[in-house]
């Protein structure tokens, strides 16, 4: 039968291919991106953010960074609330990626202040020791094309205002990129919800422990110095030489971060390490 009739074989092969295609590729359109998975607070990208997203695509950032947090304990601890379908309805194309050479970025928005991103994009290794990310300082030299961006917004059918478009004339690609990164994953108020409430009294387990101070110093150098300076003199973040804060308050701030002040939460590194940092900062404060 079909072993002698190529056209029949072609048609039967097409039918075989179409069964799985219809079930797993076409049927999902009936439920995905509908009322069923809609999230009210999710908004389209602004012109500046959308342009940043297109630069992210142009530079192939998705080759090293994923944008989806899986509902797994270690992953939620590391990156934040797991990703939900309704958060991606304005993503054309999707940018979930397939490989984490660098960290996941789905919850990056609001984690750092803008200034951190400008410095980090400019030269990643000054902010993160050992990073293998290429320098992207050169995108600062490229100005934006407001007309083109307006056309993009029309194509995507996203709302925009004339002011938003005219404001683009004085922006460069770096501004757009940072605006996009700050939007990532921030449409749902997960950061406040994820904060830990500390119940009961906090007792410093390492008071006066030289080893803890030393370990804290090392942690500081890697995780804090890029923003607060090598000598706690402050840079992107405030100076820390004159803290005048008790151990418990300091612990709380390091553990939870300051969600509207751009200080990331460091609770996921563990309470021992947070206490080591507290002891280091207090010892520096005393000097």
């Amino acid at each position: 039968m079909w072993e002698k009739r190529p056209i029949l074989l072609l048609l039967l092969a097409t039918a075989a291919i179409m069964v799985g295609t219809i079930v797993t590729m076409i049927v999902p359109f009936m439920s995905v991106n509908t009322e069923a998975d809609r999230i009210e607070s999710v908004t389209p990208y602004t012109p500046l953010q959308q342009e940043g997203r297109d630069i992210y695509i142009r530079e192939g950032c998705n080759n090293c960074h994923t944008q989806t947090v899986r509902p797994l304990v270690s992953e939620v601890l590391r990156y934040g609330e797991y990703s939900k379908s309704g958060e991606f309805v304005y993503d054309r194309p999707f940018l979930w990626g397939s490989k984490r050479t660098g960290p996941d970025l789905a919850r990056l928005g609001g984690k750092y202040p803008d200034a951190w991103h400008y410095k980090h994009m400019d030269s990643p290794r000054t902010m993160i020791t050992g990073s293998n990310m290429p320098d992207y300082g050169w995108i600062k030299e490229n100005l934006l094309d407001p007309q083109m961006i307006q056309r993009k917004m029309e194509t995507l059918n996203f709302p925009y205002t004339a002011e938003q478009i005219s404001a683009l004339a004085v922006k460069n690609e770096m501004d757009a990129m940072v605006a996009y990164l700050q939007k990532l994953g921030s449409d749902i108020p997960w950061r406040k919800a994820a904060e830990t409430t500390i119940i009961g009294e906090l007792n410093n387990p390492f008071t006066g422990d030289k080893g803890a101070i030393e370990a804290g110093g090392e942690l500081y150098e890697n995780s804090c110095a890029p923003c607060h300076g090598d000598k706690l003199e402050g840079d992107i973040g405030p100076e820390l030489t004159d803290l005048d804060m008790d151990d418990a308050d300091l612990y709380q701030i390091i553990h939870n971060g300051i969600s509207d002040g751009g200080m990331p939460a460091f609770g996921s590194i563990g309470s021992d390490k947070v206490w080591q940092l507290v002891n280091y900062l207090q010892s520096e404060d005393d000097n």
């Binding site: 190529p6 179409m18 797993t24 999902p28 995905v32 090293c64 054309r92 397939s98 050992g130 990073s131």
Partner: protein
Amino acid sequence: MEKPQYNTDIVKSFVHSSVLWGLVTVLVGLVVSVQLTNPELNFPPYFTYGRLRPLHTNAGFFGWVVGFIFATFYYIVQRLCKVRLWSDKLATFQLWFFNATIVATAITLLLGYTTSKEYHEMEWPIDLMIIILWVTFAVNIVMTIIKRKEEQMYISLWYMLAAIVGVAILFLVNSAAVPVSLFKSYSAFAGTNDANVQWWFGHNAVAMLLTAPPLAMFYYFLPKSTGVPIYSHKISIISFWSMIFMYLWTGAHHLLWTPVPDWIQTLAMAFSVMLIAPSWGSVINGYMSMKGQWHQMRENYLVKFLILGITFYGLQTLQGPMQAIRSFSAFIHYTDWVPAHIHMGTMGWVSMIGFASIYYLVPRIYGKELYSIPLANVHFWLALTGQLVWSISLWIAGVLQAGMWTAMNPDGSLTYTFMETMVEMYPYWWARTAGGALFFFGILVFIYNLFKTVRNGEKTAPLTAIAQGRA
């Protein structure tokens, strides 16, 4: 019956093109692997990792693999049908258009014109070129099969036909986009839908370009090289229908634990495990065809490439389903394990079959003896060790990184920061570069050997003698 005059010129030209793009693929692969360990080797704007990596994958997929698919299929289809190619002119047009498309792809990717969709990054004008290319190819193959002088179709032709229609469907759907300008478009699908369509495409591009066509080649060149028929044509028929039916359900195993609906993930997981059966149907068919012929593994370099190739296909189709299981995917996905898996498939299976096919073709289409069988053996060992070093080092790296990502302290906090896990990768990334370099030297030996064969290889005995395995 009078012997038909086959078109061999078109086979020659496609061999040249595919080998050239194969060299480019591996060269760019080496560059991007070094960029991961030495970020100062990124030269913006055109030569950064983010722009070069898609060039590496697309040159491999569409330049090297599709190139030798065109070459081998045009050789095979004429012989299995015992007629000359339907249209020489169309094939010649296809050759030039093919190279133009690959060049256009390379240039636009370096310029940053990309859709970001993996293995399909080229923008819409190039998608149109690829569609034209595939239609010309499909018409020529199908018309040649229709006017064949042989009643029954050998299994290789089945796989060809399935690949032709499969690639067409996948590519058309995944290309759907709304253009903004000549070099920028937005996907027709958004978010979770786009992800689901993309990996339905991504995984089945593996089926229709990296599995079905190499199987067509394997089923043709293995019996041709050993001189004995395949073990069972019936097993190949059962495997064929099961494989092309089941593959299409499995795309979402690339999206386990993501917002894609759970039931799609579960189906993908189940069908991925079921796919072991048809995959191993082909593997066992290959092994059984060697019954009484295993001594040829020592004597016949072509058999070595082919049998190692099908062995890696077997390993790949066990490892793949394993990764498609939720619990294992939770651990291993997004780590360096995954590129190690892909490269066992591309370097160990697809390229091995590609090398064997081209070693088989070149002496026959040029009527010259292969310049050096010892050099072909050197190539074999360089390719094999290169691939093993590449994959094994990154499997270790992947398990290490996955372990560090998921390690937790007794108080429920994470043991390692992301950077602590990343810097652990550097030694393995160096080992990967070394493996890639070995593979690259293998390619150089391959090209040298082919070049010398064409230039000053000895004229062979009449072609009929080769066909009967006497020369």
